[in-house]
Structure formats: C-alpha cells, structure tokens
C-alpha cells in the first residue's frame, strides 16, 4: 500500500464529505423572483379606472403579438384595483394596475411563468382609437386592443398586442381553490404561504376560494401553518426549533416571521381578513389534529355567523382528512351544525352529512360518485391538481365543482375558456 494511494483515498473521503455537505447546504440555494417595476412608471399621473371601464375590459382576448409568451388566447379579469391576465402557454400570467390618461389607458405590472422563475415587467396601453375614446366616455367600445411590451430582466423587449373577443362567462359556482391561502412558497409568489397577505392576493391569482392549514400552539391557539415543525422552508427565526406545538402563541408572534416577513396569523385573523377584505366564497380549513378541530370549529362557527350577518356569500368548512378527525367530529353532537368537508369515501360524506366531498385527484374523474354527491345537493372538490394537462382535462371532462390547486391562474384560464 503506497503512501500516495492513501493520500489519494483520504482526499476522496474528505472531498466526498465536503460534497455531501455542499449538497446538504444547497437546500437553501433556492430560486426567487424579483419584481422591480418600471423606474419610469407612467401610472403616477393617471386617474384610477371606474367600474364601467373595468367591466368592459374584462373578457377573452386574442393574442395578436406575443404568442410565443402567452399563446393564442388570454383571459383578462379584474379583482378590485388589479387586472389579472391568465394564459395557458408557459403557464403565464400578468398582474397589472391601471389608470387613465387624457386620451388613453395605461396598465403596468409584471408577468410570470407560474412554474418557472421567469418573470419581468409589462406595460400595456389602450390607445385613443383602439377603444380608449369610447371607454373614457363610458360608451360601449367598438373594439379594445391592449398593446405594449413585456421585458425580462429589464432588458429584452417583446411586443404584446391583445384584441378583445368577448366578455367572460359568469362563474356558475365553480370553485377555484388556492392551496395554502394562495400558493406554496416554492412557487415564488410575492407573499408567503398561509399568510394574511397571500389570502388577499388569492383573487388576483384567479381563485375564488382558499384552503388554509390549521395547527395548534402550546396554549391551544389555532394558527395557520403547514408543516409539523418550524423550519427554514417556511419561517425566519432562529429560536423556533422543532414541533409547532412546543411553542406558545406569544413566541410565534414575537420570535419569527414567515419567509417574506409576514407574521404567522391566527385562524381568527385569517377569517376576519377573508370576510372583511376579500370576496372569497369558500374557505377550507385543513385541520392537522383532533385537538385543532375541537378548538377551531367554534371559532369557525362564529365567523360563519359574522359572514351571514354581513350578507357575505361565504362558506367556511372544516376539513376531515383522516379517519381520526372524522370520528371525532362525527361523534360530537356540538359539531353537527359545522359545515364539513370530507376527504374520505362518499359513504363517510353521507354519514357525516358533509357539504363537500374532496377526493384526491389521483383517483381520476370518479364521475359516478361525483354525480351521486351532486344529486344529494353536495359539492365535490378535487385536490391538489397542478399538472397543466390534467387541469385542462379535469375542467373539460370531469364533473367536479372545484379544483384545489397551487396554480389558480391556470385553473381560471381553463375554466373561463371552456365552451367559449
């Protein structure tokens, strides 16, 4: 055995350890999307758009230029003061703010490909002779053409031109359910998953419903948090180590933040935001334990009452993901009035008198069972469907009343384009 070989081997061992270490630490090297906005924003001197204009601009558009980025057609939809544009190609979408100038309308914001880290700024106009003239006078426009450009990394510019075809169909009660309040951290959204901020962003992403995850702190406060443990995927805060149930609410509120700096919300705070600041129609509480169900159901019922008093079109449902939670909720007579969502079999749905049946999408269309549920006046929502091809297929071929997804922009596109 030569010394040289031993040296070699030692080097191999040392370097393999180093490699493993690099691999381990590479977990943090994740992707990010930075949305900078235009330095020379044209929105500054504009006046905000009225409801008439927003309504007239919403609709299906033909893509005249920019097909490579956005495909052949796009869906333009307003929520509040934000205009969202949904496309199929590249799973693209745009989020824009708009305003009117003397003789034209201007829209600025960002575009993104939902499943990659590609993004950039976008600026669109409606010129005087291309619809702005009528829109500014609140007259029905003969045509509407949104034209402008999109850039990537502030450099490359591609022209975009979208021509109005027809108005959007009215949503007939289809639930586009955003996962974790709006989307996962790994999808590089501007806000963290399960935050108050993402809940208010869900509609911009095309959702009309949300799913949120409920866990208990040590002092039995229901909070929005997905994982079993505090970890670097979800939070910043060096003193939060180990299981969530080891920590008191004061620690959750004072010693950590979510990834994008938001405070971890309690269930009450989240439902308050849903009722007062959004038009979300459906909230699915993904309960993580029996104890969390016991504590959360009364809270949920209170907010349900509040929503009814305010005339809000909203249902808040407690999810029953496991047999354990199912048995607990079914056995307690005080939980009879709570609205329930059952992830188990259709017999369990009947047994618990759940309002919604939510099977995993990996079981397929389940058409017979879905129809049976619907004939009993129940809704069916499938989870968690992210694959673009299957989203299209499920919307066009299955009978489900809703889809839980990390990509509500895609579901919204496929839904509004269906039968059009």
């Amino acid at each position: 055995m030569s010394n040289l070989n031993i040296l070699f081997l030692s080097l191999i061992v040392l370097s393999s350890i180093l490699f493993s270490s690099i691999i381990l630490s590479s977990c943090k090297g994740d992707y990010s999307v930075n949305i900078t906005g235009f330095a020379d924003s044209q929105l500054k001197n504009t006046t905000s758009l009225n409801g008439f204009i927003k309504k007239k601009i919403s609709g299906l558009y033909k893509v005249r230029t920019g097909k490579k980025m956005f495909g052949d057609t796009v869906v333009v939809k307003w929520s509040g003061t934000t205009m969202s544009v949904f496309a199929r190609r590249n799973e693209a979408y745009m989020v824009l703010k708009g305003g009117s100038l003397d003789s034209s309308l201007v829209f600025e914001g960002y575009w993104r490909f939902a499943q990659s880290d590609r993004s950039g700024n976008i600026r669109l106009h409606i010129a005087y002779m291309e619809g702005a003239k009528e829109l500014l006078q609140e007259l029905p426009p003969g045509k509407v053409i949104l034209s402008g450009f999109a850039n990537e990394d502030g450099t490359s510019r591609s022209s975009i031109s979208l021509e109005y075809i027809k108005p959007l169909k009215v949503n007939d009660g289809f639930y586009i359910v955003a996962h974790r309040g709006g989307g996962r951290n790994s999808d590089l959204l501007p806000y963290s998953e399960n935050s108050l901020e993402i809940i208010q962003y869900a509609e911009i992403l095309g959702a009309n419903a949300i799913e949120i995850d409920i866990r208990l702190t040590k002092d039995k406060e229901p909070i929005l948090y997905h994982d079993d443990n505090f970890n670097t995927r979800l939070i910043k805060g060096e003193y939060m180590v180990g299981p969530v149930e080891n920590y008191y609410l004061y620690q959750v509120k004072n010693f950590c933040t979510l990834k994008k700096g938001e405070i971890i919300p309690t269930l009450s705070e989240a439902l308050e935001v849903v009722i007062k600041k959004t038009n979300i129609k459906f909230v699915w509480l993904d309960i993580k334990s029996v104890e969390a169900a016991r504590i959360s159901i009364p809270v949920m019922n209170n907010y349900m009452k509040m929503a009814n008093q305010r005339g809000r079109d909203l249902v808040i449902l407690v999810g029953m993901p496991t047999r354990e939670i199912f048995d607990f909720i079914v056995s307690g007579s005080e939980y009879e009035t709570a609205l329930k969502l059952c992830e188990l079999s259709i017999d369990d749905v009947r047994k618990s008198n759940s309002k919604v049946w939510a099977p995993r999408w990996t079981l397929g269309y389940l058409t017979n069972q879905v129809e049976a549920m619907q004939s009993e006046g129940r809704k069916t929502v499938v989870w968690t469907l992210d694959e673009p091809g299957f989203i299209r297929k499920f919307i066009n071929e299955s009978k489900f009343d809703g889809i839980l997804t990390n990509y509500p922009t895609l579901v919204a596109y496929e839904y509004y384009i269906k039968d059009q």
Partner: protein, 251 residues
C-alpha cells in the same frame, strides 16, 4: 455511535428488536472483517470506463438512495431507496453494453445502452448512451395513478486506476423523451424531448473482502425531474439538486 441507534419508534415490536440485534452484530463484524481482508489479483468493475474483454460480464447489486429536494416533496419522504442492479457485458472493439435496473415497489427504472472505451496507461475514457424506461404506480387508498416514461442519458466518463482503487467521474445529460400519466380512467401523454438537466457521478470501486469488490458512488443530479419523485407530480421548471448515493457489491 452505537448508542445513537437506541432511539426507536415508541411501539417496539419484535421485528425492530431483531433488526436492532442484527445491526449490532453487523457493527461488530464490520471492523473485524476489515482487518481480515487481502487483495486479489483479478479485479472487476462496472463504473470504471476501461474496456472489459469481449463476452465477459461484470455486475453489481446493491442499493441506491436518492434524496429528493424539499421544495418538491416538502415534508413528505425525501429519500427514495431503491434496489439497484447494474450489468456490463463486454463486446469486441472496446464496446460494451450497460444495463441498469433500479426497482422499488412504487418507482422502477430499467436502462440499456452502449459504450465505447479507450485506455491510456492508468487512465480510461468512455463515451456512450443509455436509454431508460421508468414505471411508477400507486393504487392504494387515495391513489389510482400510473406513470411511465422514457429517458435518455448520453454520457462521458473518465477514470483512473489507482491499483487497489478504481476512481471514476461520469458526466451525463438527462433528457426526457416522453411521459405518460394515467389517473383513474383518464391519461395524459407528453411527448416533449426536453432537457431535464445534468448529472455528475463520482464512483469508487475497490476491494471489500477477499475476492469481492465494492462500489460506492455519488451521483449529483441537477434536474427538473427525476423518476423517483414522480408521485409528487411536480410541475416546476426549475432545476434542483437530487443527490443519489449508490452502494453495491460487485458480484
């Protein structure tokens, strides 16, 4: 070290005890066995890019373990351990056929390919291509899903013969040829010929015991997709690191 193994699931059943017992025995045997080994003249290898004589076979059986990125599988299982069998058949003119079968209940892959080798002094070089078919299924409660696909892995590798140790570095491209996913009565077919990413492997083949050689390899896949993670049905287009550890006995 040994005391670390004492933390076991709350419910200890006989299987676990047996498992534990065997583990302790193995830990005792391991150092002893190492003291007893000596070198043999006849050496076999699978990864090392040197040509093997025509119609000779060398093969290895073992385990490979891939660690899936947290961004894709989150808190779900991150390690997919797979039974791994690789076989190399020598052909004339420095060619050889490679096959590899990796199988675990829910995710399986078989590949076959051709490689050509060239050696100079203690160094060897080879170039080749492997085509793989993978198959995954889950039919238990909540799942009725089958996914299959074809991948292509063109590669080059270089290796150094350090007498007792064969050291190999291999660079591969990961190309998705097509993929089919069926759920329930519906299915989705993607014909996409898409570059999924790259992989670099480091392999050591060296004597382990008497006439037997032992393979230890680390393969760093930097890709958007790896078949072991098919059940997560990830849709991300961003490349991520999937390290894969391979341990095998050269049979």
């Amino acid at each position: 070290m040994v005391s670390l193994f004492k933390i076991e699931p709350i419910k200890i059943n006989e299987n676990i005890l047996l498992n534990k017992f065997i583990k302790y025995i193995a830990l005792l045997i391991l150092p002893l066995s190492l003291l007893m080994q000596n070198l043999s003249a006849q050496r076999e290898f699978v990864y090392f890019p040197k040509a093997i004589p025509a119609w000779d076979i060398s093969h290895t059986a073992g385990i490979s373990l891939a660690i899936l990125p947290r961004a894709i599988v989150e808190e779900e299982i991150r390690q997919v351990p797979v039974l791994d069998y690789q076989l190399r058949l020598g052909l004339p003119y420095n060619f050889s056929i490679n096959t590899r079968v990796s199988a675990v209940y829910i995710a399986n892959q078989a590949s076959i390919g051709l490689q050509w080798s060239y050696s100079y002094d203690d160094f060897s070089f080879s170039i080749g291509d492997n085509t793989a078919y993978w198959y995954g299924f889950a039919d238990i409660d909540g799942f009725d899903i089958v996914a299959t696909g074809w991948m292509n892995y063109p590669f080059i590798s270089i290796g150094a013969d350090l007498e007792e140790v064969y050291l190999t570095i291999k660079a591969e491209m990961l190309i998705i040829t097509n993929q089919n996913t069926s759920v329930g009565e519906t299915s989705l077919y993607n014909q996409r010929n898409k570059m999924a990413g790259y992989a670099v492997s480091f392999a050591i083949e060296q004597p382990f015991w008497k006439d037997n050689d032992f393979l230890l390899a680390v393969r760093l896949n930097y890709a958007t997709f790896m078949y072991q993670s098919w059940l997560a049905v990830s849709t991300s287009d961003n490349k991520r690191m999937f390290p894969e550890f391979i341990i095998g006995f050269i049979l």
